[in-house]
């Protein structure tokens, strides 16, 4: 044991970040203004946002130019804060006031709903998350089925859960729900009925331990 100060950790390799920057410039060269924003978290991951018009073209560029030929998933996010909170309201009381401003995540956004997908480059070991804004009324983007065959089921799922239309998809039947089901369950304004008919019993379990600060529940405490 010596008293020398600990050596600083060696700088982690940033080779992936140069690759990620290369992806952004390749996309910018191919899409021009279609590429709206991009976020690179150093040594971690990357996000790009494109306009819905070039959604399909983005897939092609990623597959053919960038080499992301592995399709991971496709889905959507509804950025509207849930009008029902976390389903813990007492149904006998009037609902509390809630902040319903829409705030999008990484790479920004302008609409309530976004489609997002992830593709991976298996030879250079990195993935890209692509987002696109879709219109609030009759949301619609081009289908990726002709680019990545695996997008077929993901788009079907997304269509039924979010009500987003995929232009050019061969068969947008429901996967999970009955054909005549009304509504899109993963939209935030679709209530979780089990939590609507009966107060959430788990709420009684939340009681403070001695020493907990009532104002700041996230206060540091020893792990038990």
């Amino acid at each position: 044991m010596s008293d020398t100060p600990p050596q600083p950790e060696p700088t982690p390799e940033l080779v992936h970040d140069t690759v990620r920057e290369g992806v952004v410039s390749a996309l910018r060269a191919a899409l021009g203004d279609g590429l709206i924003d991009s976020v690179i978290k150093p040594n971690d991951d990357m996000w790009v946002r494109v306009s819905a018009d070039v959604w399909q073209q983005t897939g092609r560029v990623l597959r053919d130019t960038v080499g992301c030929d592995y399709f991971c998933f496709l889905s959507a996010i509804d950025w509207l804060p849930s009008p029902y909170g976390r389903g813990e309201d007492d149904p006998t009381e009037p609902p509390p006031e809630r902040d319903n401003t829409i705030k999008q995540g990484y790479a920004g956004g302008e609409t309530r709903m976004q489609v997002f997908a992830r593709v991976t480059n298996l030879s250079q070991h990195f993935g890209v998350t692509i987002k696109a804004d879709v219109a609030d009324v009759e949301p619609c983007v081009d289908s990726w089925v002709t680019v990545y065959a695996g997008a077929n089921w993901h788009e079907r799922e997304c269509h039924e859960m979010f009500g987003i239309d995929f232009r050019g998809h061969p068969d947008l039947r429901n996967m999970y729900l009955p054909t005549d089901f009304e509504g899109h369950p993963l939209r935030k304004d679709f209530p979780l009925l089990a939590r609507m008919v009966k107060p959430w019993p788990g709420i009684v379990d939340v009681e403070l331990l001695p020493g907990d600060d009532t104002d700041d529940p996230a206060a540091e405490a020893e792990p038990t």
Binding site: D44, D45, W47, D69, Y70, F71, C72, F73, S75, I77, D78, P81, S82, R86, G87, E88, K103, G105, Y106, F116, R118, L122, H125, G127, T129, Y148, A149, G150, N152, W153, H154, M161, N174, M175, Y176, L177, P185, L186, L192, R195, W200, L209, D212, P217, A218, A219, E220, A221, E222, P223, T224
Partner: protein
Amino acid sequence: MTDVKVNDMADRQKLSYIAAQAADARLNVELETEGMTLNIGPQHPATHGTLRIIVRLDGEQVIWAEPGAGYMHRGYEKLTEVRTFPQVTALVNRIDWLGSFANEVPFILAAEKLMDVEAPPRAQWIRTILFELSRIANVSLFLGDLGVQLGAITPVFMAFRDREYVLNLIESATGGRFHPNFDRIGGLKEDLPAGWITETKQVMKKLRNFCDEIDDLLFGNEIFQSRLRGIGVIPPEVAKQYGLSGANLRASGVDWDLRRDQKLPLAYDKVDFKVWTHPDGDSFARCWIRLQETREATKIVDQLLDGIPSGSVMAKVPRIIKVPEGEAWVSTENPLGEMGYYVVSKGDLGPFRVKIRSASFNNISIVPWVLRGVYVPDIISILASLYFILGDIDR
């Protein structure tokens, strides 16, 4: 393997692909007969649950196939939105119910990534050990069940017998045989019980014996080989397009394993293991890869058991967990393939949105493609070799 052999294999793949297309064309031109629609399932011994498959046949040959999932949809993506972060693990346990612990890990890792917390080394090692034990429990059942689907009853009894040892280990460490719910943000619920390491080493020996038995009984069997060789060939380009993962992808010759190919706070970089690939892409290759992977997993567990670091199994985290605003994607190499969570947090007690990317969903979406042109008995063997868990398709 020499270059020449690799080329041979690639040619074989191409030939099978061309043969399948030729079969398609022939069906459309020469054998214009009255078709028949056959419904397999939702309750069928070969479907591991309630998957329905509708096939249109021309004679014995499939001309169109469509799996009908959704009989087990439980809506976990919606349910996570009304749970707190620590509660989510109890839900996601039930996605792939044969390897439950493995489902918890990527979610917890995603939450830890958002919170910028890292589990202590001991917790990381134990996590990795339990992860591999789930893989062994899961895939050993596959190896036994594979025999049943092809008409051999004995292997499944052997699989249930030896899987029991692994489940007992998981139970003694976590308290739950099927649904451990043991992983916590920042570490693990508890440390390992006394004597667990010695016991695990003995079980790993038993499991290696089991693999040898299966290798002898099944994989060396001529009927088994003729039922699987050259059937259901998936070329690597198609596999990647459909997002196949795990053994299905590696059986098509794509050398990709998330345990090795990405940086995660798990102990895989501390052990020496081989990622098996097979150039054929047929049903046999998929089954063979899984057999090798079970063997490899027992070796990984053995190596990890020798080097578990000492210390705490829990990092310092707040008692009530609030996850900072952000988005994170973490995926791991689960028994069935790539399982990942895209977690969006708004700085609240619970996640804002969780997209669950499960392996079987993508693995089964290739069924309409791969079943075209095959014969009826091969439907069962192809489905068996693709290996899916219904809970993992429907979520």
